[in-house]
Amino acid sequence: MARLSSPFDTMARLQQALDSYRTSPWLNAGLSGGGAFPPINVFRKGDGFALVAEIPGVGKDDIEIQVKGRSVRLSGNKAMAYPEGSATHRRERLAGRFDRALSLPIEIDPDHVEAELSDGVLTLSLNRAERDRPRTIKVA
């Protein structure tokens, strides 16, 4: 896989790569139901992973993130508040509760998870737990 390092090509290559990995069976065994909200993209980042999820309209206080072993759980509530008595012309956004878990192929270090929510996008940086790291064995 090409690394997305050149800013000039980053966008086109990223979009292409995102498409081609949509059919990837990489996480199939670990997914708790497809099509669950929020949609998540998983990236390899160093020897850990970055999870990026689109959750527009969900604030910091409306989301709960849990990490245990290999799995990450995102739950919360996406609410929409419109004034009473207003007439609806168009309704395309969805609201409701969400709760989904994702299993990764590595054990996650729960003490070093970084979560950032900006502009409706949640980014989780997950590192491999120390005891899950590969060790080099010297032949005696």
Partner: protein, 146 residues
């Protein structure tokens, strides 16, 4: 121009069903045409509702920062364009993906009843809210019977 028309004609109020379990909406890509910035464009999911004072448009544009958002009004057409900054993906290698990313664009034809001088916009958590007040002449008035 892609996108729908939101005038102030329709008045029937609809009950909104709150789905208990949220599902993912597949992003809609805009039809191909030449654009100022390269890359894909998506149609932001939009709610429109009307009160006595005016019309409100609520558009989901996750990942768009305030400085990359452009709202223009030209000849009665309100155009919203949000561009994505792809630098946050530098050095990341996708291994599993459920959605694609791109810029957002949508246009709305405004009716003359909108006070086009006083349109307001706020962006919070990737959601753009546009308030389109009705021009004074278009506001409902109660007529007292003498």
């Amino acid at each position: 121009m892609s996108g729908g028309q939101t005038g102030i004609r329709e008045t029937g109020s609809k009950e909104v069903e709150e789905s208990q379990e949220l599902s993912v909406q597949e992003k809609k890509e805009t039809s191909g045409q030449e654009r100022p910035a390269p890359g894909r464009y998506f149609v932001p999911s939009t709610d429109a509702h009307e009160t006595e004072g005016g019309l409100t448009l609520v558009m989901e544009m996750p990942g768009v920062r305030r400085e990359n958002l452009e709202v223009t009004l030209e000849e009665g057409v309100l155009k919203v364009e949000g561009r994505l900054d792809f630098s946050r993906y530098d050095g990341l290698e996708p291994v599993y993906t459920e959605y694609n990313v791109g810029h957002y664009e949508r246009s709305f034809a405004l009716s003359e009843k909108v006070d086009q001088q006083n349109i307001g916009a706020t962006l919070e958590n990737g959601v753009l809210t546009l308030t389109l007040p009705k021009s004074p002449a278009a506001r409902p008035r109660r007529i007292d019977i003498s």
